[in-house]
Amino acid sequence: MDDKIKKRENFPKGVKGLKFLTNFCIAITGIILAGSLPILIRGWVEGEWRGRLYVESIRETLEGLWPIGEIAFLNYRAGQEMPLFPNIFAYIVYSLEILFLALLVAIITSLTFTIVTMLLSDNIRERVKMILYFLESVPDLLIIMLAQLSVIFFFKETGVLISKIAVAGEDRIYWLPVLCLAVLPTIQLYRLSMLTFQEEERQMYVELAHALGFSKVYIVLIHMFRNAIISVFFQSKRTMWFMLSNLFVLELMFNLPGIMLFLRGNMHPLGFLVTIFSFFLPMFILYSFGEWFFVSRRQNKAVA
């Protein structure tokens, strides 16, 4: 990751904007090409090459996009066709809310834990890392089911319903799904940031700061944190990818009215395109901005 950043420092500003645009175009092309893939696969199963149908389907999908106000979709709940806009925004917003809340919870808890663990001794740290490594192998489905079961159990024992475990109708539930979605990313990010912080600890400047008599808390919080957070950010993209799959399962198991459930009712190229796009856009912008932010900060420092 480091050499990538250094290489980018040499680019003038315009090139970076161009790079953003090319990346964006490649991503969109990839999604459109993937959207019609099932046609090729159905052809493969039946033993023929359906290249022409594939191109045809891509063309149809792109044409279907044009009068954007007229796209109609089957609504999974209402059981009838409905116009796409503005109905879809309710789905998107709900999914993104859960996704980003969970990400935020995961980042905050994992960083807090990391900082606390960094203040402990080496022995304990290694043990914590080991436990985290094995905790990562817990499947997300198990976490969701255990959460639901424990809510039911708690309800049976005390008569208090902590949270609804499924959505019926139009209401929204937040904290239980967010918690379920946040558990695994927290563990992953915790281990990742532990590794990064430990890598950072071997750097010379930490030793210097120690020698100058700064306390351990101060060094970890002020000096190492700033440098380690950049690596953690770049690695969090993979965590995000993994969270998207989890979000999908979560929406199914909690019956949440989100964008993934929307796709389930609309398994065709246009539906796929719209769904992928609805969370691709905010995430792509967020990550591009983050990359730009961190890289430019580093650049400024290098100049000064």
Partner: protein, 336 residues
């Protein structure tokens, strides 16, 4: 490798499921025991699904089939499929990665931004979307055989993340390629293929092994997710009877199918969906144990990264000097 307790333990769990699966089929046949209801003193006390008891350690499903038997029978499908998917993926992605890492340096950037865009498509959703035409039984039955479908599914699932894995390999290879010893080999006239074979591959063997383990773990998760979507390994049997349609069923007893078809019983019979998921979790756990054991056998230092403060008279003397100076500085400052 075989001396590492982690590796042996993980290997033991995984081979227990695999060997158990084949032995079970050999001894008891490929249909698990069926009990419709439990009798006690001539009265029926419990009908299927029967909760766990001594006769059925994991209870039975809604049709009275023994769940432990089903799990054992299904183990081989799930585990072998996951291992095969990851193996096919690595077999395709590693050579591509090396090619991009050594021959096509310019194109590597394009490739990595393409792979980067894949990070925005949730894998489960993509897999489900692409596999539906293959696995969902059409109205007039499947036109392909079970083994055909399984192999096609394995190849498709392997291909899904080939770009991402090969970019990982390519970036790693590109990092190594800039090392001095590679430059030395080049100067001595080594071709690119020789460099890959003799220098890059041996250097990256451990990383590739770890990558393989990660792919296996990921595949288990994706298979479980697909099970939730009623897309089972080797095809989903769908009943198109408008009146008495059975729920979608798995053709083999593989774990994802066991979980997916029993998910709605979570409240009334929690052992039904929990047992398969716990098994999947155990399989993933054993793979991560094996990975850890493998890594430890390769570099035994991993446990002791602790740095010993070196006793060096010069350093000690310097430190002493510095301390004295700082004390002097502090005193001067205070006296001002």
């Amino acid at each position: 490798m075989w001396r590492q307790p982690y590796f042996i333990f993980g290997f033991f769990i995984l081979s227990f499921f695999l060997a158990g699966s084949f032995v079970y089929e050999w001894v008891w046949g490929d249909v698990p025991a069926q009990t419709h209801y439990l009798m006690e003193d001539g009265r029926a006390v419990e009908a299927a699904p029967i909760s766990p008891n001594w006769q059925h350690p994991l209870g039975t499903d809604q049709y009275g089939y023994d769940l432990l038997g089903k799990l054992m029978l299904g183990a081989k499908y799930t585990i072998l499929a996951a291992l095969a998917i990851a193996a096919v993926r690595m077999a395709i992605a590693v050579p591509i990665g090396y090619l991009f890492g050594t021959y096509f340096e310019k194109q590597r950037k394009w490739m990595s931004s393409f792979a980067d865009s894949m990070h925005y498509i949730p894998l489960t959703l993509f897999a489900a979307y692409v596999l539906t035409p293959l696995l969902w039984m059409p109205e007039n039955g499947f036109s392909s055989t079970l083994s055909e479908r399984i192999s096609v599914q394995v190849i498709i699932m392997a291909l899904l993340t080939v770009p991402i894995v090969s970019v990982l390999v390519a970036n790693e290879a590109a990092l190594l390629r800039d090392k001095e010893y590679i430059l030395a080999a080049k100067t001595l006239g080594a071709g690119r293929f020789r460099i890959i074979r003799k220098h890059l591959y041996p250097q990256m063997r451990e990383k590739i092994a770890v990558l393989y383990g990660q792919q296996v773990m990921e595949t288990f998760i994706i298979l479980a997710h697909l099970g939730l979507l009623d897309l089972f390994l080797g095809g989903t049997k769908v009943s198109y009877d408008p009146m008495f349609g059975d729920p979608p069923m798995s053709i083999s007893y593989e774990w994802a199918g066991l979980f997916g078809s029993s998910f709605r019983y979570l409240q009334s019979a929690p052992w039904l969906p929990l047992a398969p998921v716990v098994c999947i979790g155990l399989a993933i756990f054993s793979v991560s144990l094996m990975m850890e054991g493998y890594l430890r056998s390769k570099n035994p230092k991993i446990k002791k990264i602790r740095r010993q403060p070196q006793e060096d008279p010069v350093v000690e003397w310097n430190r002493e000097q510095l301390r004295e100076k700082m004390v002097r500085l502090k005193n001067e400052n205070q006296s001002k």
